[in-house]
Amino acid sequence: MRIDCLLAGVGGQGTVLASKIIAQTAISNQCFARTSETIGMAQRGGCVVSHVRIGDQNCSPAIPIGMADLIIGFEPAEALRNIGFLKSDGQLLVNINPIIPVTSSLGGSSYQAADMIDYLQSTRRQAVFVDGQKLCAAAGTAKVLNVIMLGVAIKQQLLPFSREEVLTTITENLPAKFLELNRKALEIGYNFQQYV
């Protein structure tokens, strides 16, 4: 197994934790994993990019441009910002709910969500779009967007893991008090039907 997966989102969305779940699940499947993050100075609200590299110890910490097999975008602008990392035949999974930075409201740069999603759709790669807010509502909290996205990725076969393998990683590595919530979130993602 050799996969380069990039996760992009906004600080506070749980991107880094999702990348660790992917990497730890790969390790449980006897694959080497390496991850790294680019995080700015902000505690919350800044751009966060996680690189997960599975299956080759002789790799550097970050995915080269144009080499990612998969991008999981937790937010449309952040998915688009990192689209250059994706292989020409790479796959995309994107949450369509924008997080509009305050700079846009201050007149710095406008946020055109529809244009971004149109663009992502037009790239002719396999692209899965989810309404994360709606799925989170079913789980009862926005905090499980990361696990929901993993559930979708497994079902759509964007990641080579089973639901059970990911659940084992969650059970063994995350606080027990959130296990039920995470299990539910994983199910919600797994049962998601892609929009036609």
């Binding site: 906004v10 080497f32 305050v102």
Partner: protein, 597 residues
């Protein structure tokens, strides 16, 4: 044996436990912080861990323990080494008994630091051995080597990972081996007292030891030569991983030297590498330390090998490296056509997402109230900032940080500005942890020299920016104990500050009034703004925009809270981001913002 995903800093922390570390001291600083936190988490009953007030103190506490034979680890970021360099420079002459590793994390980029200084350079200047791990898995065992070397030569040893090792994660094989260090105790001896004559004698010993360590490093398993041909590439630290990955797509034979111990330079190994080569490309981030050493050897041995790297502009002199930069340089060096970069396509407009203070951050209210106070009094002022989350107060629309230099410098720079421009108000901002770190001497200096400045202490009860570490004002220690909280107010009063007032910045009217009183005080005045970081308290009821909103957007324009956004003239508050600090409600001219129950 177990294989687990570990962050580089976790691997180093676990590696230090495995190596039998007894005492660990440090000051938080990105990207080094998690090393000490990891040890605190897994320390068991026989390892002592503390966050010291600053890096100088941390190093001295560790040195004391090492004099008695304890294995000690000191952790800091690269600029922290500047603070700790006074005791370290002398300690090299005194030496230690128990193994002492000084972990200094460098930050190429820089990602979250003031400088791109290179600790390998410091190692050379200070005559200290230095280890430079390339990956988390390598760092796990290498830290043990560092302790062993330290004890072999009775010298402190530097361990210098970079951001892409500290914060990267990898599959790391860990084991349950654990070295047990017996602490012999301090033995009275004149060698522990530094005097000029002793320093002279020890300087000679240090020089002799450097030659021996260079020999040791030449046979270190962390350094090796592979491949062959007339062209050579050297990769030092994390840069070696870029070299390895770049070479997977290149078939030209090339000789590669992997280096993990840049000082004392492993001359013998490097000479073996240089022999038979025509040209070398050196891949190392920050300063050309390895490159200069290779040039030295070529000069010394009259080797006709052309050394290229930063000094020949073959590599960028600043910033962090990446696969792309290294692969392009190697292709050029090997005379290969570079793989065409993927075509850049025009993307739809992307919104900027600069770092900002969190929604609900009390610093926002503190900056805003000072701004409003000065507006009311009509005074001109310079706002000197310091190191912490509150450096982000420079962003629009607050725009309240005019200077930022290093830890503790806000208070002292204000004093200098006041001397040069006595008619302007000088207002210094400093956080609680930074106050304890190096803020206090500046306060004493201001009182003693009768300057006229106002200091605003942003006391959020934690060291927020590095991930919420305790400090003397919190009354919590890394050993899990509750100690006496050190009151900032009492410290200030003890230093003789004539005007000290406390206020809650989230009560805007009261905060503005307090600032006005402080600014009008002739002499040193201090306002302590007390409100906890949102990350350590539960949120209040989130706020909502009422029907009566007139769409003036004053709330957004004045404070720039990331929970607020406006599409056309309609303002909304994101309930997932809002912490219910209620600052916006105090700014709204028509009382159209309120909390939900």
């Amino acid at each position: 044996m177990k294989t687990k995903l570990l962050m580089g800093n976790e691997a180093i922390g676990l590696g230090a436990i495995r190596a039998g570390v007894n005492v660990v001291c440090g000051y938080p600083g990105t990207p080094s912080t998690e090393v000490l936190e990891t040890i605190a988490k897994y320390r068991g009953n026989d390892i002592y861990v503390e966050w010291s007030v600053n890096e100088k103190v941390a190093l001295e506490v560790a040195a004391g323990a090492a004099y008695a034979g304890a294995r000690t680890l000191v952790t800091m970021k690269q600029v922290g080494l500047n603070v700790a360099s006074d005791p370290l420079m002398s300690l090299i002459y005194i030496g230690i008994k128990g193994g002492m590793v000084v972990l200094v994390a460098d930050d190429p980029g820089p990602i979250s630091s003031q400088t791109e200084q290179d600790t390998r350079h410091f190692a050379r200047y200070a005559h200290l051995p230095v280890f430079d791990p390339s990956t988390p898995e390598e760092a796990y065992t290498m830290i043990g080597e560092a302790f062993a070397l330290s004890e072999k030569y009775n010298t402190p040893v530097l361990f210098r990972p970079t951001t892409q090792v500290c914060h990267a994660c990898a599959s790391v094989e860990t084991d349950d081996e654990r070295y047990r260090n017996k602490i012999a105790g301090f033995i009275k001896d004149p060698k522990w007292v530094i005097f000029p004559r002793l320093s002279y004698q020890n300087h000679i010993k240090i020089d002799a030891n450097e030659a021996k360590i260079s020999q040791d490093f030449s046979v270190s398993p962390y350094n090796h030569i592979s491949g062959q041909g007339p062209l050579g590439i050297v990769g030092c630290g994390v840069s070696f991983t870029y070299v390895t990955e770049a070479l997977t797509t290149i078939n030209t034979p090339v000789k590669v030297l992997k280096l993990a111990t840049p000082h004392p330079f492993p001359d013998k190994l490097a000479i073996t590498f240089l022999q038979g080569l025509e040209e070398v490309l050196v891949i190392e981030e920050l300063d050309p330390v390895v490159e200069e050493n290779l040039l030295r050897l070529c000069g010394k041995l009259s080797l006709a090998v052309r050394i290229t790297g930063k000094l020949t502009k073959a590599m960028p002199v600043a910033g962090k490296y990446s696969y792309e930069i290294v692969a392009a340089a190697i292709s050029k060096f090997l005379g290969q056509a570079q793989a065409a970069l993927p075509k850049t396509v025009e993307l739809p407009q992307l919104p900027l997402r600069p770092p900002v203070l969190c929604a609900g951050c009390p610093h926002r209210a503190s900056f805003y109230s000072v701004k409003q106070a000065l507006k009311k009094t009509g005074q001109k002022a310079v706002f000197t900032g310091d190191i912490g989350c509150y450096t982000l107060g420079n962003a629009q629309p607050l725009d309240m940080v005019d200077t930022c230099l290093c830890m503790g410098a806000g208070i002292t720079i204000a004093q200098g500005l006041q001397l040069a421009e006595p008619d302007r108000k000088q207002i210094a901002f400093i956080g609680d942890s930074t106050f304890f770190h190096t803020g206090i001497p500046g306060i004493i200096n201001a009182v003693y020299n009768e300057t006229d400045i106002t200091v605003i202490i942003l006391d959020n009860s934690t060291t927020a920016m590095t991930g919420h570490q305790p400090h003397p004002g919190t009354g919590k220690t890394m050993m899990g104990n509750i100690s006496e909280k050190i009151s900032i107010e009492n410290v200030l009063k003890g230093c003789g500050v004539p005007f000290v007032a406390k206020a809650n910045p989230l009560n805007l009217a009261q905060a503005v009034e307090t600032v006005i009183a402080a600014v009008n005080h002739q002499g040193v005045s201090v306002v302590i703004f007390e409100a906890p970081c949102i990350a350590i308290v539960k949120p209040n009821a989130f706020q909502e925009i009422k029907e009566s909103c007139i769409g003036c957007k004053k709330c957004i324009k004045e404070i720039g809270c990331p929970a607020m956004s406006a599409v056309d003239d309609k303002v909304t508050i994101n309930p997932h981001l809002c912490y219910g600090c209620q600052l916006c409600g105090q700014i709204c001219p028509v009382q159209a913002i309120g909390g939900l129950n």
